[in-house]
Symmetry: C2
Subunit: 584 residues, 2 copies
């Protein structure tokens, strides 16, 4: 392909709006342009990468007998009423009306459409298991779209839905899907971890895993064990309880065994009271008020910890959970914001495990500008339940093997989910089992953010304004750059190399533009093809400069090796070794 | 592929809602299902056909150096304000608002988005010519969606946009595109005609052609010459004027050379007055009133002809043209509806050529229940202009060669259009030419309805509840049907044939379902694969029944040849001959 004919609008300047490395490199290399906030146009090079990702996803889906469909984005709102998601989804669901004032949702996912289809078309266990998928544009009106393709409002997604006659069948489909996802992310060259995630309050086993790409700008925290293969999303991560590190005991005032009320003016936050008392946040007990299924509840958590609302929800066995409105509890419960303590509250108390093992702690005194010190849990206050209701923290130990847990940032690129009968129940889908009894199909759903995956690969493989695409998804494989397009000897060698490489099945981009070498090299750095061949003054000796992926297996090393002078024949050998095995 | 594992919900009953043959066969063969009016889900077999069409389109686009992109469907309404199409497009444009109340159009086409992109990114003649395309979902809120995929509200379309520095460059791109379209429609097996169409009031040369698939249910009328290659859409079709067939002269009353007012009670329509006077509609002159750019005008047309409003608009050189509101002209102009004649009208008169050569015609008398007979055009009334302002009719002669014109019904599957600078002007896109002068890029746009094409192929290749997919787009190539899946000898031969055919690059669908042969054959008829191999009681002798496309070049013959008994080796020979050359 001739670069002079391709539409690759590279940018000399770093675009101001792009924070993320991937967003910058995709804009600068002319792969994408923003059309509106969170809405992008994929330009020719970007479209090529997207196609290659799509193709890998299709191959792996087809390999596990998932069948491709194409479902509509315009979805009658009645289907969303049936499932209850019209209410639950909130403003992220884009809605519109047609010329007859009929309402539609612009599909963010397709559980409703597919369940309605299966309800109409699947009537017998003999039609199960069945897994359908599609690769199509999805719409989600993100409150804060950002990082280019990483969090957009219109994006390409592969979504799959499985229907099984029983849970064992679902388990098999789920495992197949996990394996397929692992192959997909491996093939595209991603550094990723499969982590346990939380299913929320959906019924069934609710087993769910996320595939997380490691990246500093990731919005998720991944907790992994340094020794065993335990890995979980922070919201799901458990740790070895009862091993909370000893904390320095705070100072003693008066009789050590009695709590003492002290004046702590203007210390509404944990940080403020700890500073004022010359203590650490871990010496303080936070008392937080929640509304759980409409009932107020007090939650005790150590000052340096964070409540994990999903764990809390599970511990309380409730469906709705939200922090009590501060203004509301001030008026209704007559409690002083910022100075709450677990005393004389007209509600149940749940304490995190770490709280009940504290010694001489600080709590609010239920009085403005006052706290208690030297509080002994179990003696000075009690609780109705104790549970693991906090986020894991670095330093916690693995609940499986006791080794240290480490934390990383991750971008969610894939999600597999045992849905159970949530949609079959809500939408009344049934089939007849072997004995002729109506049963609900048991569903799973499985997603991969295709355009997000493109952004994520860029995030992992971009460095210092140089991109370095993995061979399997690179827009072309070899960048063939003549130093001077007016030099006939150079151009002759370029054409020979182009033919020979193309004959090997290698995709070649020839920079045939009449530009200075510096301009060409800068663009080549941005475009980031795996192999670069520069044809210059040694063309007459059939010698070129070549750089290629130093070790294409070593995905940690994203830098191409430094350039080496070599013969045309050596170039072809290297292409055969490094590029060709990865093409197809 | 095993049919038992595929989701192919065939239907025993003809679906009541489906009028069109293609709609029926696609529903019955389990290829599509309706999700809402004009909105369809493509099921696995349908998705496969769609992929094959897409692939052919991509190959032919890439071959003419069109570059693939992917542009968003959510398009800021501001872009549509700039182009003026937010006003012009009317209720077919679906609109919605995001969570911040910003308005978006749901793209029916992408002229605005692409022109905005080019405005930002193309600054020099050296970047031109440039043709970008995409295959993506489009939205059009049709007033009357129908015929399944033929006229939907959400559909897959290939749209391409070219930008050129001058008209000669556009002419070349346009011709390349016409050639590519011709190859695409030929490759997918369509019977089609390229016809001249009308560009409406868009500036530039406005040259435009439509690719019409021949089909009885087509909504367009195609006019073709029986001798030369002239072909046009009815709204564009011209004919040899001045050759209007002689019409039988009407009876004579009183002096032959004078018009006579006669009483014609209750004869508001042409048909009524002709019957009443015992004449033909071709003896009557219709007087119609239009509003052309706001000015009333009278239009004279022969009673058996139809006004061609596009020709009329061109003849009048106006932008807006609509029939005068009957109620409005009754009150304002004091003229009797149904009895108008070209006398004493306070407006200009334009007459069709056929009118001015009429002899002793009938007109209204501008008086209720009265007409004139024996009217001589030019003597009893005059006109301000005469022009070709009627639709061609069968019997008209070709303006190029004088041979007879014939009429067919067609489905528009492709459209190529020299847009000129309509969008460059409106949206302020410019580039610098060789002398550094700012110029407007000259645009073309080119569309193929991908999902409509699927429906159109089905329309042409379905007959009597049997489908017969052309090899190039068939979901699979060979349907391999064992009579009894419990017969080991049969199944062994099936597996052998499957392996041998697959090794040839042929896609095989094995009906491994434990069903009666009649059920399998009915489904096979609906699914309509090009070649069918039935493995039955002669399996032990390695003999099978085979049918295949009788003559794969003869696209008129869509019936498979009748079944023949043959050996396994002969089957492979036939597959090599009829299927393999068409694969890839």
């Amino acid at each position: 392909m001739r670069q002079s004919q391709l539409f690759i609008p590279t940018l000399r300047e770093a675009p101001a709006e792009a924070e993320a490395r991937s967003h910058q490199i995709l804009l600068r290399s002319g792969m994408i342009r923003q059309t509106a906030s969170g809405i992008y146009s994929l330009l020719p090079l970007g479209r090529r990468v997207l196609h290659k990702i799509e193709q890998i996803v299709r191959e792996e889906m087809d390999a596990i007998m998932a069948q491709e469909t194409l479902l509509p984005s315009l979805q009658p709102i009645e289907l969303w009423e049936e499932s209850g998601r019209n209410r639950d989804y909130g403003p992220e669901l884009m809605r519109l009306s047609d010329r007859h004032d009929r309402s539609f949702a612009l599909g963010p996912t397709h559980e409703e459409v597919i369940t309605a289809l299966i309800r109409d078309e699947v009537h017998s266990y003999r039609q199960l298991p069945l897994t359908l998928y599609q690769i199509s544009t999805k719409y989600r009106d993100e409150r804060r779209p950002r990082f280019g393709l990483l969090r957009g409002r219109e994006f390409l997604m592969k979504d799959a839905y499985s229907f099984s006659a029983n849970w064992e069948e679902l388990d098999r489909v789920y495992e197949d899907m996990v394996q397929a996802y692992t192959r997909i992310f491996t093939r595209v060259g991603l550094h990723f971890t499969k982590v346990e995630a939380d299913a929320g309050t959906i019924g069934g086993s609710g087993e769910t895993h996320e595939f997380m790409a490691l990246a500093d700008i990731g919005e998720d925290t991944i907790v992994t064990c340094t020794a065993c293969d335990y890995a979980a999303n922070l919201e799901k991560a458990i740790y070895k309880t009862g091993t909370d590190a000893e904390v320095t005991k705070p100072f003693t005032q008066g009789t050590e065994s009695q709590k003492v009320k002290v004046h702590t003016p203007d210390t509404k936050t944990i940080q403020q009271v700890a500073s004022y008392l010359n203590l650490e946040p871990q010496n303080v007990i936070k008392t937080l008020l929640y509304e759980a299924d409409g009932v107020p509840i007090a939650v005790l958590i150590r000052g340096d910890h964070e409540v994990n609302e999903i764990k809390l929800q599970h511990a309380l066995k409730v469906e709705q959970l939200e922090m009590l409105d501060q203004e509301k509890y001030k008026d209704d419960l007559q409690l002083p914001v910022g100075y709450l303590g677990p005393y004389d509250l007209s509600m149940k108390i749940i304490a995190d495990y770490a709280v009940i093992s504290m010694d001489r702690a600080v709590t609010g005194a239920n009085e403005v500008d006052h706290h208690y010190i030297q509080v002994q849990p179990g003696q000075d206050f009690t609780w109705d339940a104790a549970a693991d209701i906090r986020n894991a923290v670095e330093g916690d130990l693995c609940s499986s093997c006791g080794s240290a847990l480490t934390f990383d940032r991750g971008i969610e690129v894939g999600h597999v989910f045992k849905l159970g009968t949530k949609y079959s129940d809500a939408m009344g889908a049934t089939f007849l089992n072997q004995t002729g009894t109506p049963q609900k199909p048991i569903m799973g759903c499985y997603g991969i953010g295709i355009s997000r995956l493109l952004g994520t690969i860029a995030e992992q493989y971009a460095a210092d304004l140089k991109m370095s695409w993995p061979v399997a998804v690179a827009p072309y494989h070899v960048h063939l750059i003549p130093i001077s397009v007016k030099d006939e000897v150079q151009m002759e060698l370029v054409h020979e190399l182009e033919s020979s490489l193309t004959a090997l099945g290698v995709e070649v981009l020839v920079d045939d533009r009449n530009e200075r070498p510096g301009v060409k090299f800068k663009d080549a750095d941005l475009i980031g093809l795996p192999m670069r061949v520069i044809v210059g003054k040694n063309a007459a000796d059939r010698q070129v400069e070549c750089s290629w992926p130093a070790n294409s297996q070593d995905t940690e090393n994203t830098e191409p090796s430094s350039s080496e002078r070599m013969s045309v024949e050596e170039v072809l050998e290297i292409a055969k070794m490094h590029i060709f095995p990865k093409v197809d």
